[in-house]
Amino acid sequence: MIELKNIIKTYQMGDSTVHALDGIDLKIEDGEYVAIVGPSGSGKSTLMNVLGCLDVPTSGEYRLNGQLVSKLSDDQLARARSRNIGFVFQQFNLLTRSSALRNVELPLRYQGVSGRDRAARAKAALESVGLGPRVNHKPTELSGGQQQRVAIARALVTQPSILLADEPTGALDSKTGVEILALFEKLHETTGVTVIVVTHDSNVASHANRIVRIGDGKITSDTPVFHEHRSQNGTAPSAMPEKQPVMAQEAKAK
């Protein structure tokens, strides 16, 4: 559960002070699928950094699963990230020299998980994103969509409560982008993880159950989205006819 109270983040740009976040109040319950939408410069990236414990606000309170994280030190933030949050980036940000398996193992390594356990969990995570047979490929040997799947597996391997994705389809073609969004939906529904997608693209945002719009560091609107073909309570998607064949095809191709 995420609770933001009057979050303010200011930057000093030369002589002037920039209010990147200007009094944000936001509450996100466990298991929600939220899109944070705004044009560039709206403060959505700053909000993502605060939500992801990559940065601390100038003032205000941020409670993550009950823990007050807005005042933590660097190392305490690292531990909070490691325990609660999985990141998915626009540019995938995989370690190019390491295999998919080792990339996915990395967060477990920083948690101090032992070798055999680690490999098993990383393999299971890769399996869940549909990359089972490609565990030993290096990122350079994988397509963009496959790389993003590895990144998603890396984000989920620690079983975080929140999956935080920053423009996850921004570096992908539209067809692959749709596949990745479908994967988010599937993972959201099967694992119950809270998904927060930060994007400027309203098509991407439309997949979420709730859209929070940001402008000039403030929340301008916060509206729920109702999907006709999807149930809200996280049961298995019985009606995704246009997406399931794509997944099946891919699995066959491998």
Partner: protein, 403 residues
């Protein structure tokens, strides 16, 4: 992350830039190799000097005339005086020597070499053993028999085979001598080794070979005095001075017309010269080790900048500062320690090779190995610490934004 995992990560990223890693290592490799080679060669040279001076005979004083004094000379009488235990109790034996150059000839085989007129006691005092035959006797000396002992390589040169020399006659200038012994090979180079020397009885040399010296038939060029132990060197020196001054009838106002040298002192002087030289060369090696360390720091800083984004990702997925610090520290440590090992092997190879070529054996002391390897590890830590610290302090937000 445990140390083994961190080490594996370090090796992976070093492998990704093989040429750069190798060039970085080169500085430390050269530094360690030169330190090890120079210290080992230095140790070899100094032990060679020590053993050679011990080979000359330990606990020995040598007495020469002071060349600055016009009429200074040493005689057989001086030798007898110093050999008298009542006058110089610390001296166990004293012998006289004349030394010069002469033409030595067998048939048409001619060689210009050192001739030493020696009393028979000389051979024992200088630890010279016979390869074949035997040394001449006191009787040969007092009876003025024309007999000679050849140095090993001189015998080889004159007779092709040292065993053939016994009983043969050699001409020294115009005087024939019969060979009674050939000395064992001493090794080493220069006239000090004695391998190229012909030894004849002192009295014969004084009266037949070096008669044209204006100092008289009974003069000697050097007196060797064996003392009981190194501890009595200074009291023996005083006794020798007093004895010779009275023998030479010197007034208290007159300076000594002779000089007393202590072989042990000479040895320690040469040894300390060699040690200073070794330290100096070792210091030059250490400087290149330092330069190598700065090279490591330079490359590590470049590497941290290059991998800013990677550091950001690692931090985002849960790496604490300590984990990043350790990762980069182990990387620089891996570079410097493996360079240290390679440098060590290279340095040992160089010193063994040089030792096998020259007249001395190089000595690779365990502490040299320990110091060189220890230093290379230390350099990895010292020069890796700052780049690693910089990496660990990177803010994840800015690091992730870095292109």
């Amino acid at each position: 992350m445990n140390i083994f995992e961190t080490f594996r990560t370090a090796v992976e990223s070093l492998n990704a830039n093989k040429l750069r890693t190798l060039l970085t290592m080169l500085g430390v490799i050269i530094g360690v190799a030169s330190v090890v080679a120079l210290l080992s060669i230095g140790a070899g040279v100094s032990s060679n000097i020590t053993s050679r001076i011990n080979g000359m005979g330990t606990n020995m004083l040598s007495i020469n005339t002071d060349n600055r004094q016009a009429n200074a000379r040493l005689t057989n009488a001086d030798v007898r005086a110093l050999d008298d235990p009542l006058r110089v109790p610390d001296v166990t034996s004293a012998i006289g020597e004349v030394r010069g150059n002469a033409k030595v000839m067998v048939g048409t085989n001619l060689r210009n070499t050192t001739v030493q007129g020696e009393m028979p006691g000389f051979f024992a005092m200088r630890n010279i053993n016979m390869d074949t035959g035997s040394i001449y006797t006191d009787d040969d000396n007092t009876q003025r028999r024309r007999v000679a002992v050849l140095g090993y390589s001189l015998a080889q040169t004159l007779f092709n085979n040292s065993a053939l020399a016994l009983g043969q006659t050699v001409m020294v200038d115009t005087t024939p001598f019969q060979v009674v012994g050939v000395a064992e090979q001493k090794g080493g180079f220069g006239p000090q080794s004695g391998d190229d020397t012909i030894y004849v009885p002192l009295n014969v040399a004084q009266e037949k070979l070096f008669v044209r010296r204006n100092t008289g038939l009974d003069s000697v060029s050097t007196i060797y005095a064996q003392i009981r132990s190194a501890d009595v060197a200074s009291s023996a020196t005083q006794d020798i001075s007093r004895t010779l001054r009275s023998a030479h009838n010197l007034l208290p106002t007159q300076a000594d017309d002779f000089r007393v040298f202590n072989q042990a002192e000479l040895a320690s002087t040469l040894d300390s010269v060699a040690a200073t030289l070794t330290e100096f060369l070792g210091a030059i090696g250490a400087i290149s080790l330092l330069v190598g360390g700065i090279g490591i720091m330079n490359i590590m800083l470049v590497s941290v900048t290059e991998r800013t984004r990677e550091i950001g990702v690692r931090k985002a997925i849960g790496a604490a500062r300590g984990a990043i610090l350790l990762q980069f520290l182990i990387e620089s440590l891996t570079v410097s320690a493996s360079a240290g090992v390679i440098g060590l092997l290279l340095g040992m190879g160089i010193s063994l090779f040089i030792g096998s070529q020259g007249s001395f054996k190089s000595i690779i002391e365990p502490q040299t190995v320990a110091i060189a390897f220890g230093f290379s590890v230390l350099i990895g830590v010292v020069f890796g610490l700052y780049p690693a610290w910089r990496a660990s302090r990177l803010q994840p937000v800015e690091a992730l934004r870095y292109e």
